[in-house]
Symmetry: C2
Subunit: 215 residues, 2 copies
Amino acid sequence: MTASGSPTQGAQEASQEKAQAGSKPRVRDRLVEAASDLFYQQGINCVGIDAIVCEAGTNKMSLYRNFASKDELVVQYLKEREKETFARWEEVTAAHPDDPRAQLVALFEHIVEIGHEKAHCGCPSANAAVELRGTEHPALEVIYAGREKVRGYVSDRLRAAGARDPETLTDGLMLLLEGALMSRLTFREKQWPANSMVANMKALLDAELGPAAAD
Amino acid sequence: MTASGSPTQGAQEASQEKAQAGSKPRVRDRLVEAASDLFYQQGINCVGIDAIVCEAGTNKMSLYRNFASKDELVVQYLKEREKETFARWEEVTAAHPDDPRAQLVALFEHIVEIGHEKAHCGCPSANAAVELRGTEHPALEVIYAGREKVRGYVSDRLRAAGARDPETLTDGLMLLLEGALMSRLTFREKQWPANSMVANMKALLDAELGPAAAD
DNA sequence: GTAGGATGTTACTGACCGGTAACACCCCTC
DNA sequence: GAGGGGTGTTACCGGTCAGTAACATCCTAC
């Protein structure tokens, strides 16, 4: 198991530093990365332990020494993806300090942009929610918490921008966001409706905040 | 279901019921119905042939006499769901003849309503698209065609209502729709953002068509 | 150089998967 | 009453799945 208070933690961190300086990262990180790629591209239920282990260039025993089960690896996969996503969002919004409306527009533009990348397969959390529906998988809590965080991220900026009814507008933007990511899988790329997402988003913003100074 | 008695008994009883009702006692229909329930609730990849066969009160051989493979059963499942959905939509819009705007509002209200039903698990097609991504499953074509049909359904009504830019607005409504269905799985029910979908939809309609005569 | 932790190797379990073969039955039609 | 089509029963196939045991090897800190 991955006991958090293991007496060897100090040694582990030390070797990790060395490993990062060298070529190969620790097995645990390689496993999460391999799982992340495969789970995202093919789906959690379609990817077996053997495939992950092979992709990570290791073996099953090393996986089960680092993770109690496949479920735990799935949880880690989603947490990692979420962390990366918010890091990217912070970069995007940092370009528009003290302008919450511009931050949101930039964010939505960014999402449309990455939606056009070749390997894009929608939202990892949403896909996982679909695959794990009807179960009591521990990853579901991670997904719910992640969506609440996203909602807060949007809601805070709408309030700061002076929305009259920020809750309703937040819901609207959440629907656009969720729809944009999912429709990459339900539509052919040329018909992807998110190509018009920013226009529709601005229509909602204008109705609530008044037209922007400059778009 | 299989509460008491052998599977054989159950199958015979079901056949007799269907025969008495007048429709054909086809195993095929029972299989599609059972597959529809299980695929929708638990997911295509989580439901095995044995479970479907058991739920339908029949056996594997009868399944493979009616369908070439599980894939073909999946295709049939999605086609059936789509047919049922459009039938319900026709009922909903029929209440507002010659008022395309009111038809769309009623449609969206209807979708929010059924989203609150206990057994609701999002959109069958979207869920399937997630589960089958990265494959060449024949059901993907069914999904794409279905989405195009929905888009046409919305687009026709927006044009009839006199939208200035019907394509962009159609995309916006498609995103709301897709987002509403998916977010039933990514949010806890109390935080479901589609509870504000109709308000946001009307904001988009008002911006394009002008305020409605009466809402 | 040695001890100990991290990693690799092989082989295995028991369950489940989609799909098939061979045969038996039942009921409707002619 | 003789078919024949639709259906049920049983047993099986090869493959994959998540997870484990026992043992071998490597690397690094001391």
